[in-house]
Symmetry: D2
Subunit: 328 residues, 4 copies
């Protein structure tokens, strides 16, 4: 029979994403709702090792539902990869009376949580927070929807300039291993071509597509490229390649970078964060552990952390066809 | 065996919503992709009766994916409710060589489409476009996601003032019959209480909630109220009620109104519109009729128009519990 | 010779406006820069009477430059209108070692500051913070530029709907005594007609303008109306009047309300707030008192508080002519 | 005595900027207001040479006041630099009945306009359109205010991530020869340090500033760098330099790029564009030529084009001191 849980620790780990604060708020308030304690752990696993804790009540999380970033901050911790580091961390939790952990982050953060559970039989639940949407067991990670809106807003602005000057823009968006942002924001922003890590469309196809686009009477073009696209050229190399093969184009590059991780979360991300936080805390209170809470088919579900880490998310290749049709 | 379709008409009808233009663009370009003609019908069924048509090609819909409203405009048509009106409309379509129809709108628009099909055996497919999200057969209607973001953005601004002055704000949002906007935007904006058409929470509960909120040390409060909330009082009557029972509160009212229908669509609405437009056209080409295309469990699906019209969407009452926990 | 100032108090009073937080930050950091103390006074003059003070250093104002509202909050104080109230307030300041005061607010706040100076020879400097831009001695009050952007954003959204449906919208914006917001946002949003407190254009002219607009082939119209417009009818009465005289119009009303006071300040307001805060503190340190800092002809200037209170701001009537030309 | 003007041509040239469309609209409608013709010239001087003209009336410019970019497009023209090119251009204007020209653009565009006037005694008026605010004779160029808001919005987003991870961000903004954007957006976004072309602050000072910032307890830092900053290192070289001297910092680079030129114009830019367009047309009608219309001390003024081209805008160095105080 599981030990009764009296105090839950919450931390954010890995890259920050919009909605993390809304998830922290939800965890803190759900604890208060069930009359159990809540401890905020600063700077992820590193703060766990250093005992950088703060007791949190409902008013500690006022006015953060709409803030980007994470008030608990995030950090890498090499020390947590050592048994000694984890022993220190565990001792700190025990000393602080913390019985269970909610970890908000991505794959790497969940791997740490799972290891921690294995070693100390410490109840853990994960909440998927990353803009890349590359976690198995949830249709949406926290921050993904916001990042899509940020990216289309920026591309809308760039298109103003592109169409005023008859230019071709190569726009690099985040996504080292997953093309979700590129594919969806590309369709949303009306990109002529989209390059993603999951499919090698080949350079020929890019040139063909640009030629077709010109022939169709389009005066400007936007190509959206995920960081980790399969072609394996940098966006600046692509620029040179296109210009040498297509000298009539005035090609410009824009690397959107870190702005994609910030900003006030969308309504979708705020509601999702609120729901996931409730489920995370209540799952721990029901004696569950080693699960990630997620959204599948519009319902809040539990996926074993092990599957969440090892599983592979698929992109919807039908979207590539939609993109093709849209860029006729 | 269905007649081969050579030209498709597209119209928008009912209240406009963000994403309608993206859907028009998708219908037009999918027609071009399949080498069939496309005719834009202006001002909904009224334009159908008046023959207010325009041939549309891929370049007719340049740079509209990110625009609110509808370039085809929308209008009410009392004439279309008469058999004579519909006969005129049918004659115009036949004269223009239009073989099938895509109708972007809500319940009322679909009722017209179904009637038109019954009378003239004319193939029709519906695309759900309304911010209210009150159509059976789709988890999201076009414009709903955008409206949620618009509402939380505005409430975020109002909260700046509310918390600077320790005020209570009663904010009326759209939703005559459905509380989707109120419930989700209310959670997203961190409302202390949410009043919706689906549940009569009672006035007592509102006062209790406000007292609890004050006791919990909150310095300001936001109550989000759907137009058609069950309590049956106007938002101005509610203000009087609260002030007379709770004189220490400085109560202000804000009726968000029509701004909720406008604005550049969110990435979600743009992608959904693109996908629904493709499916609508391709369903017609495959010989389907009398269906609404929609999104169910993240997949594009077909729902018989009759069900879409008669079916009743449920709100997720679990969200009320989440809202309760969040406003502790 | 003025007493050396060692500690400055800062408060916000009256309606909040975007940029107040940036001004507080500037006052606090300028004090730190000159190695003098700074005390934040909560809830305006009421907090001064209640001794609701907090010592503030440079890190107390981290991450607020971009936040709407005021972290010091604002409140009305009837007690400050009594000599007893002001004596209490003065005693609290003296007890806390506060030697001088920066008051961020509007006319009413400055009147209080001037009275306080007269009675206790206490150095005071005012910073104009109100969205209405109705203070003499500055071309821009804090929050005005942000409010203009908020209003045109909202009207842009409403225009999506207006032009989709061929509707006339009557939009009420803030401005009880001053038409600055209505006039500038009206031009910015492309309004067909603008009604302001400073000029009685008459109802005839409104109807003429709408007829002309219809005759010119415009399918929709936006009329922007300041709260305190000269015609003296409510926006709802205007709706009835227009509809009865112009039955072919489908007239809708939107009252923008409090959202106009909130939101993240524009770059202009943030920079202005930073400059005014520096000038306010350094003026006090130089022995000045009873002035308002302001922006005139792109330069930071001092205007005697008495003039700021009594003086009358003029609107640029040439803008009415520009509006007329633009709405041809 | 000047020839009576019956038709005015309008073009946009050089880099596009938000507000150009609002200025086009104003020129077109002011012509209509005075009952003279208006011709839109596409793709700047190149379109003038190719006769790429379109007659424009008040309805040609519907719904563009809020759009970024330029509907008349812009292009470079090497041919216009030749006497033959200009002769062709002149002939086209004469053939089209165009008597005078409004040129919306920057220095280079005005140089072309002046030359054209000298050679053909053709009346020209310039409207300053560029985000860089580097044109003598106006306190604000069209698009500058909008660009400032775009930049602070993006830096606000980046700060979410910076403060979640205790990082240092080097952010490059536009401004090859002028630091207006860097200086004002840097203050607006709360940058710790700002590097501009007008002042060589030296690398030592940057390091000092970062050390001071760390010592002051700041957990993250933003440095804003104009493209053409005096230090003469690229932003990537600066990253290496800071990291080698300050290994405890995790330094990230963001180059904002072309998004700064796009987007819906701010209210300020829309109103300024409307006023400048009226003044440009009415100045031509009054027989003026070779002037640039601009805003000086809140008034619309005329500056000889020659001065506008040769004059040098100064940045307000007092702002550097404000920035220093703010980053304490």
């Amino acid at each position: 029979m599981p030990k009764t849980i009296k105090k839950i620790g919450v931390l954010t780990s890995g890259g920050d994403s919009p909605g993390m604060n809304a998830a922290i708020r939800s965890v803190v308030r759900t604890c208060a709702y069930h009359n159990i304690g809540c401890v905020g752990i600063y700077r992820g696993y590193q703060g766990m090792i250093e005992g950088d804790f703060k007791e949190m009540g409902p008013r500690s999380v006022n006015n953060i539902v709409n803030k980007g970033g994470t008030i608990l901050k995030s950090a890498r911790s090499t020390e947590f990869r050592t048994p000694e580091g984890r022993i220190k961390a565990h001792k700190n939790l025990v000393d602080a009376g913390v019985d269970a952990l909610v970890v908000i982050g991505g794959d790497g953060s969940f791997t740490g949580a799972l290891l921690f559970n294995t070693e100390f039989d410490f109840p853990v639940i994960g909440i998927p927070g990353t803009i890349d949407n590359d976690i198995f067991g949830t249709s949406h990670t926290l921050g993904y929807d916001t990042a899509l809106n940020t990216v289309v807003d920026v591309i809308d602005k760039i298109r103003d300039t592109a169409s005023s000057h008859n230019r071709l823009f190569l726009i690099e968006v985040m996504g080292r291993d997953a093309g979700h942002i590129a594919l969806n924001a590309g369709i949303g922003a009306g990109a002529e071509e989209i390059l993603i890590p999951e499919e090698d469309l080949g350079l020929e196809r890019l040139l063909d597509s640009l030629k077709k686009s010109k022939a169709a009477g389009k005066s400007s073009s936007i190509v959206v490229i995920a960081e980790g696209d399969k072609i394996g050229k940098s966006v600046f190399e692509l620029k040179d390649y296109v210009e040498s093969n297509f000298p009539e184009y005035d090609v410009r590059v824009s690397v959107l970078g870190h702005m994609q991780r910030g900003g006030s979360p969308s309504c979708f991300d705020r509601v999702l964060a609120s729901r996931l936080g409730v489920k995370a805390v209540e799952s721990l209170l029901e004696g569950q552990s080693n699960y990630m809470v997620g959204l599948l088919q519009d319902k809040i579900t539990l996926t074993p952390l092990e599957q969440a880490i090892k599983g592979h998310t698929e992109i919807d290749l039908e979207l590539l066809r939609v993109s093709d049709i849209m860029s006729i």
